[in-house]
């Protein structure tokens, strides 16, 4: 057996009272793709930040090719042959690919020789790894998948032997993700080592050789990928058995509750974000909107939720609603029975500095139940919060904690509890499980299905295709501000939806 290219032993890191990494040991073999999986807050990012020199571990050692090293900053990490591709790219938008690759790795005071050298090297790298990118393209003009390649090229240009990718597929279409995986496989063939951090079980199963599971700051298991299953990994991540598939009976759609006709939205920069969207959601069904982030789904939710003006027709139970005027806002929407679980709970759905009980009134603070004459009925509100927290299993069940003191999953439960318990006729849901742990995902999905079974019309927007596939009764795919097509979940495949998400009409192909 060969020696590990990277070996961590006894790594611990605490932030104040929070122990982010506890005595972590990890051996990564050269020429492999090693997956690291874990829920949000399990400590994956902290561990990688230690490896890349952003944080200093409180204790423990890092060995590369058997030699113990100190990684004080990212320069040291690069020198040790570690390359990092962040979830949010660190590229200069108005520079060319070439300039971005060279940035920070210039050879001298003059730029021209560096650029010439880099151009030759990029060509070689492209041939070696199948990483074709136009070196003179401007970053902001190329797609996300291409931008990610530039990040990988940046690392390779700096002679990275170990490449760390943090949630690399979050912004990619399934097809782009497949391309990325082909590149990673090629890197492995050429002897590079890849560490893939993700929370998606499917990706782990598809591409990795070995997988390490993190839970609550600890490395709980390392297994060979062929020896495990998604169910087993999920159990290791959460610490108990979980239901990966949503348990639901077939929908019995009733009358049309929400009808959208030729809806258009232009943003403040004058860019048309919705280019004529039409759809219909019936009582007792979940319409899932699939699509890569940034194709108009957010704008659709915002217009329907009263946060943004739009042009076109929207009818609620047959009656047209105002989309532009003074009476188009979150309050009038709620009065029509439209509840809204927004995409970004931290910036929209909650006031992070408000107590949980204050947040339970958020958006419904005019409701008679929460008011008594001139003043808000704080006692009633607190009692209501306690009850909701119990029903939705929010932990800790303390109304007097501020929203920011809850974990992502519990924050989302507060939002979902608030919106669902109002008994809406229509529920708009955006990314209901983004940054939410598996246990809470299960619970939130169940609540959404229960509301559907009670006859509500539900519009679900998610970039997680698995979520769309398992939760929706009908799927519409959005691309570039348009609906590319509608499919029934049982009659379609991830591949077909992926093509639609990339703007290609699956029927024609």
């Amino acid at each position: 057996m060969t020696d590990p290219v990277l070996e961590l032993s006894g790594i611990s890191k605490a932030f104040g009272p929070v122990q982010a990494n506890k005595n972590i040991s990890l051996r990564v073999m050269p020429g492999t793709i090693h997956g690291i999986i874990g829920e949000n807050g399990a400590g994956k990012s902290t561990l990688m930040s230690i490896l890349y020199g952003f944080y200093k571990a409180d204790s423990g050692t890092i060995r590369i090719k058997g030699r113990e090293i100190q990684i004080a900053d990212s320069q040291a990490a690069i020198a040790a042959g570690i390359g990092m591709v962040f979830q949010h790219f660190k590229l200069v938008e108005n520079f060319t690919v070439l300039e971005n690759v060279v940035l920070g790795a210039e050879d001298g005071r003059l730029l021209r020789p560096s650029l010439a050298k880099a151009r030759a090297e990029l060509k070689a790298l492209a041939e070696d790894y199948g990483l074709n990118v136009d070196p003179d393209a401007i970053i902001e003009e190329i797609g996300v998948g291409m931008q990610q390649r530039v990040e990988i090229l940046k690392a390779l240009y700096r002679r990275a032997e170990i490449l760390i990718l943090d949630e690399p597929t979050g912004v990619l279409t399934p097809a782009e993700a497949d391309q990325l995986f082909r590149i990673l496989a090629r890197l492995r063939e050429e002897g590079k080592t890849v560490i893939l951090i993700t929370h998606k079980l499917r990706e782990i199963m598809e591409i990795t050789d070995t997988v390490s599971v993190m839970r609550r700051g600890e490395m709980t298991a390392t297994v060979k990928t062929p020896d495990t299953s998604p169910e087993h990994l999920a159990e290791l991540m959460v610490g108990r058995k979980v239901l990966l598939q949503v348990d639901k009976v077939p929908a019995t759609p009733g009358k049309a509750m929400l009808e959208v006709e030729n809806l258009k939205v232009t943003d403040s920069k004058g860019v048309e974000r919705l280019k004529g969207v039409s759809l219909e959601v019936r009582a007792g069904e979940i319409l899932g909107i699939a699509g890569v982030a940034g194709n108009g789904q957010s704008e659709l939710l915002e217009v329907l939720g009263g946060m943004r003006a739009g042009r076109g027709k929207v009818r609620v139970e047959g009656a047209e609603i105002d989309l532009t005027g003074r009476n188009s806002n979150g309050q009038t929407r709620r009065a029509r029975g439209i509840a809204h679980v927004p995409e970004d709970r931290q910036r929209e759905g909650l006031i992070m500095d408000f107590f949980a009980w204050e947040n339970v009134a958020f958006g419904y603070h005019h409701s008679a139940a929460y008011n008594r004459g001139l003043f808000m009925d704080n006692a009633a509100l607190q009692a209501d919060t306690t009850a909701k927290m119990e029903r939705f299993d929010v932990r800790p069940p303390n109304p007097w904690l501020t929203a920011k003191n809850f974990s992502g999953g519990n924050q989302q439960k507060i939002v979902v509890a608030r919106e669902i318990e109002q008994g809406p006729k229509i529920l708009l849901v955006g990314q209901p499980t983004r940054g939410v742990d598996i246990g809470a995902i299960e619970f939130i999905h169940k609540q959404i299905v229960t509301l559907r079974d009670q006859g509500a019309a539900i519009l679900l927007v998610s970039v997680e295709l698995d979520e769309i596939m398992s939760l929706s009764d009908r799927i519409a795919v959005m691309f570039d501000g348009r609906i590319m097509g509608e499919r029934m979940p049982q009659d379609t495949t991830v591949q077909e939806l992926g093509l639609l998400m990339a703007g290609m009409n699956g029927k024609a192909a």
Binding site: M307, N329, H340, R347, G349, H365, M376, N405
Partner: protein
């Protein structure tokens, strides 16, 4: 989990800030050849040592409570109202109009009328910057600063050209009629047989300031409007999600803020000067910013901070009077307090948070 206990946040930090400011002030005094201990004695005697001293301290404090509340209300909507000074000047015009134009039968009615006019004038003066911020995105800090200058110029014009009685040289209004004179502390406490210096300016307006503290507390933490103001102040996108109109909140919060600043004039113009003069607010609008900062935008904190600043004002005046310490030096001392309690607050907070964390770790 919070980084440190609430009492440390609310009590310890201001005390440490004050202590550091006192050290700084002592160093300045020593460097200029004065005895800091003696100076402190003079300040305490002059600011708190007698009923007359209290009469001045609480008179200044009344001004600062109103302007401090004004700044605090705006900050809850994340609006930095630098314009309390100008709004207070306009409030003074309102008070003068109310007192001179309406024949009040009794001071108790006059004070209500004056409050309404002062609030109206101050609030309306704040509406223009608020509207520009809400509709055009003009930064409220810039516009309210500019409106301070406009207010000063406007007051100048009004006093010289419109409100000055004929044949008088001084740019000031006529003295207000007897029926509008507010009872002083000596008058009010005299009813209960408690003696109080009759030459001290503290007056009935102090009670109004205390009531204003209670009302602002109710507004911010107990009403729907306060809830909306705070929500908007914490997160504009969140407010949009909840259907709270940003335009409405900006305008209403600024009008309330301006009205509070304007009502300060019931103290200085109606209660003390009993006529309107140039620059009647004497910088109280700016002190209000420091008071709100130090009081953490809470009415109780504003009250305490206002009394402290009232003491510094009055004690400082005694300092220059008795020890021949130049007036500018007194301003330096006050500035040190503002610097430490306001601007350097975060420095002390950070250090203290680390200390508490270390202590917790050590105990664990």
């Amino acid at each position: 989990m919070d980084k440190m206990p609430k009492w440390a946040d609310v009590v310890l930090i201001p005390l440490i800030s004050l202590f550091l400011a006192a050290l700084g002030a002592g160093a300045v005094l020593m460097a200029t050849g004065h005895d800091p201990i003696a100076a402190l004695g003079v300040m305490i005697e002059g600011g708190m040592g007698s009923s007359r001293a209290w009469g001045y301290t609480l008179y200044y404090a009344t001004n600062f409570i109103f302007t401090g509340l004004a700044v605090a209300v705006a900050i809850h909507a994340r609006l930095f109202n630098i314009g309390a000074e100008g709004q207070a000047l306009l409030g003074g015009v309102g008070v003068a109009v109310a007192c001179l134009q309406i024949p009040w039968p009794h001071w108790s009615l006059a004070v209500l009328g004056a409050l309404v006019f002062a609030g109206l004038f101050g609030g309306l003066w704040a509406i223009v910057p608020a509207w520009l911020q809400a509709k055009r995105g003009s930064h409220i800090v810039i516009t309210t600063i500019m409106f301070n200058f406009i207010a000063a110029a406007l007051l100048n014009f009004l006093l010289v050209e419109v409100m000055k009685p004929a044949g008088v040289m001084e740019p000031a209004t006529a003295s207000f009629p007897e029926a509008t004179h507010l009872p002083s502390f000596a008058d009010m406490l005299g009813v209960f047989g408690i003696p109080f210096a009759s030459d001290a300016p503290a007056n009935f307006a102090f009670i109004l300031a205390v009531i204003a503290c209670v009302l602002v507390w109710l507004l911010i933490w107990r009403t729907r409007l306060g809830y909306e103001i705070r929500a908007f102040g914490h997160s504009e996108t969140g407010a949009r999600y909840a259907g709270i109109s940003g335009v409405k909140i900006i305008v209403i919060a600024m009008v309330i803020s301006g009205a509070l600043a304007g009502m300060m004039s019931v103290n200085n113009v109606m209660g003390e000067a009993e006529r309107l003069v140039l620059n009647s607010s004497e910088g109280a609008g700016f002190i209000g910013i420091a008071v709100a900062l130090m009081g953490r935008n809470h009415p109780m904190g504003v009250f305490l901070a206002a009394v402290l600043f009232g003491f510094l004002y009055q004690g400082g005046a005694q300092l220059s009077f008795q020890l021949q310490i130049p007036r500018e030096m007194v301003t330096v001392i006050q500035a040190l307090v503002i610097l430490f309690t306001g601007a350097l607050d975060q420095m002390i907070r950070g250090t203290l948070e680390r200390a508490f964390l270390a202590a917790r770790k050590w105990r664990a």
